[in-house]
């Protein structure tokens, strides 16, 4: 697979962060694997099991996305937003964190939740919003929340997770614990004021966070060139006194390396880092979108798929082969089938959950309203 022409990923390695003063030179995005999966940079320190886990999680996310899109087409779930093409970025970045770190997702970070160990069945339950759903059927599909895993629900409004992310990081600093916060943003999201205000806050207070922009080149129908006049979003970091770097977001090893370095630095009091991961939104914006209306099928047809790229790397070292691939695919299919079957058997949410969670204790007005809802209509 070839990277898209407008995202040239030069050969060579070392993505050097631009310093807080902002080096004027164009960056070389950090890259570990060549486009065909050859090792060309320094691979992050990972055990063979971890290396395999990265592959498994990326494949799991791909299989999950494909099935959920099908469910949506069949009318079994209402809405879905896939992360197809971006598996290396989400999986790799979440993988680089410690278990106690917080994640504030943007739109396409289901992979981070899988990495955290959230049961796939619960993700399906969230999409159905029925009685199996931890969020009681309150939230739109793909707005997963897992308090115990420190994974915040994405916001339907974009970019406003970042002020919260830097605030959570600030709390960690004040409390003196080791927590790091990873906040995600899309390329389109960087146009919002909240992005800039959060970056500035992080820079001024040196909050222990990593802000990762998934530059997938599109914001619904708007290409990144119409979103910002700067060619490298990473350079925006310089304006806030934060190191910013570009990473090849379709190279899972590069994403692990970059995020790990940034998280380690934050954990040791080194302050925030901004990472721009260059990737590609291969699918529609969501199931409500038809990208053939605004982007050339030829461009979309040759997106740089991160999964075969990493598989080639694993295969070259003998860590993967066709047989294991078949086994994995069968396993994933079984896992997803079982999850769907289990969730579809669940009833609708309890009507009383309408008022649950508005307040810790519902005030009288809400209790009255509930009685009205539960009273049979005359």
């Amino acid at each position: 697979m070839i990277p898209s022409a407008s995202h040239p990923v030069p050969s060579g390695t070392a993505g050097s962060p631009s310093g807080p003063d902002g080096s004027p030179d164009s960056q070389v995005p950090l890259r570990v694997l060549s486009p065909d999966g050859g090792l060309e940079g320094e691979a992050p320190d990972l055990s063979p099991t971890e290396r395999e886990a990265l592959y498994r999680q990326m494949s799991r996310l791909r299989a999950f996305d494909n099935r959920m899109i099908n469910l949506q087409r069949q009318g079994r779930i209402g809405f879905y937003g896939p992360a197809t093409g971006q598996e290396a970025t989400t999986v790799g970045s979440a993988f680089a964190l410690e278990a106690g770190d917080w994640i504030f997702p943007a739109l396409r970070e289901a992979g981070a939740l899988l990495v955290r160990g959230y049961p796939l069945r619960k993700m399906v339950a969230q999409l159905y919003g029925n009685r199996a759903d931890d969020a009681l059927g309150h939230q739109m599909p793909c707005h997963y929340t897992a308090r115990e895993l420190r994974f915040v629900s994405m916001s339907s409004c974009i970019a406003n997770q970042l002020p919260q992310a830097v605030g959570a990081a600030w709390a960690a600093r004040i409390r003196g614990d080791r927590t790091v916060v990873l906040g995600y943003i899309g390329d389109g999201g960087t146009s919002e004021g909240d992005f800039h205000a959060a970056m500035n806050f992080a820079g001024v207070f040196r909050t222990p966070c990593v802000i990762l922009c998934q530059n997938n080149r599109w914001a619904i129908s708007v290409p990144v060139e119409k979103q910002t006049a700067v060619r490298e979003i990473a350079r925006k970091a310089a304006a806030y006194g934060i190191p910013g770097l570009q990473v090849d977001g379709n190279d899972v090893l590069a994403v692990v390396a970059a995020t790990r370095a940034a998280a380690d630095r934050a954990r040791c009091g080194g302050g925030p880092t901004f990472i721009e991961a260059l990737t590609y939104r291969a699918g529609p914006h969501t199931t409500s979108d038809d990208p053939t209306r605004y982007r050339a099928s030829e461009e979309a047809g040759r997106w740089p798929d991160p999964i075969p790229r990493y598989r080639a790397f694993l295969e070259a070292s003998g860590a993967w082969d066709e047989e294991r691939e078949r086994g994995l695919q069968a396993e994933l299919e079984g896992e997803i089938d079982a999850a769907i079957e289990e969730v579809e058997a669940e009833p609708a949410p309890d009507p009383a959950s309408l008022i649950e969670g508005v307040f810790a204790t519902p005030p009288a007005l809400l209790r009255d309203q509930l009685e009205e809802v539960l009273r049979p209509r005359r």
Binding site: H138, M140, S156, I158, I220, S353, L354, R377, R378
Partner: protein, 326 residues
């Protein structure tokens, strides 16, 4: 005048086409409005017809969409800013509340702000808490903003034309559920004046005062009640600022009973405002306390069943009217 049946979406689209053709100072800006022709296709054909100078896809920044529209209005243009939904316009409330609403006043009346901010709001599409809100109360609360909530295609077109020609900032609230609704719209230019409610169903027993999508639900309820011999009068307010209290009071003086229906939350809502004004100005005409039927005071849930419980439905309106008429 000859009529044809078109959708609410197409009616809005016609208003934009006609006003842009009539007045070169009208321009349209917002997220996805040009190439994509709007998230709800209200701006269809505008880019092709009027070009990039007058139909602008903006970066994703509602604060800047509203703010630049305010600046452009002060600078002599008539911008129509689309918000993908009013839920996202909440990010621009500083520009709307602190600026659009007050600039004329703060300049001692010497500056005009011919500006429209339009987009959908409301629930019913399973878009949940941050994507289904009704914001008209927040806007109507603030002096300096006109607030428009059309329920029919003809009003959508006629009120948008008036909004674009108005010299004050107009907050134009479409309902997400109504875009595909069809209705008769007169051929050619129509401008529906602000501050004139419409009696959309005549009756003598109870007055139902409402607006936007709830007008359609109230009409269904009125038809059902008709079968039981209860004659409800349904008033569609059409614009909340200015508010046609004359029409409301005249009807209440006839029916002596009033129910105000709104989709949004009950506390300090439009229904509270209207109920208060009815009791201030027509207390002696009332045979029963004014009733409010509103959305439940909860963030909008996603699940279809919960969502349906969260907003007034036709049987709820029927039940309320029966109780009032009893």
């Amino acid at each position: 005048m000859s009529m044809r049946e078109i959708t609410y979406r197409d009616a809005l689209n016609e208003a934009l086409h006609e006003e842009m053709a009539r007045d070169p100072s009208v321009l349209v800006l917002g997220e996805e409005v040009a190439l994509y022709e709007g998230a709800y296709k209200v701006t269809r054909g505008l880019l092709a017809r009027f070009g990039e100078r007058r139909v602008k896809d903006t970066p994703i920044a509602e604060e800047v969409i509203a703010g630049s529209a305010i600046g452009a209005a002060m600078g002599g243009l008539r911008p129509v800013a689309e918000m993908m939904t009013w839920n996202f316009a909440i990010l621009a409330f500083d520009q709307i509340i602190n600026h659009a609403a007050k600039i004329r006043y703060m300049f001692g009346g010497r500056v005009k702000l011919p500006l429209v901010i339009r987009g959908p709001q409301g629930g019913g599409k399973q878009l949940a808490a941050q994507h289904s809100q009704s914001v008209e109360t927040w806007l109507a609360h603030c002096p300096g903003l006109k607030v428009v909530c059309p329920s029919s295609p003809a009003d959508a077109k006629g009120l948008l034309v008036t909004a674009i020609r108005d010299d004050d900032p107009v907050m134009f609230l479409e309902h997400e559920i109504l875009y595909n609704a069809k209705g008769n719209v007169p051929e050619g230019e129509i401008a529906v004046p602000f501050g004139q409610a419409a009696i959309v169903h005549q009756g003598s027993d109870v007055t139902i005062i409402t607006y936007s999508l709830m007008t359609l639900k109230a009409l269904k309820a009125a038809e059902e009640l008709e079968r039981d011999g209860i004659h409800a009068e349904v008033i569609d307010l059409r614009t909340l600022v200015p508010l046609d209290m004359e029409a409301v009071l005249a009807s209440v003086r006839k029916t002596n009973r009033a129910l105000v229906v709104q989709e949004g939350w009950p506390v300090c809502g439009m229904a509270s405002e209207i109920a208060a004004r009815i009791q201030e100005d027509a207390f002696d005409d009332l045979d029963a306390p004014v009733r409010r039927l509103t959305g439940k005071p909860v963030p909008m849930p996603y699940n279809r069943i919960l969502e349906a419980q969260a907003v007034p439905q036709v049987p709820d309106i029927v039940a309320e009217v029966r109780r009032l008429a009893a």
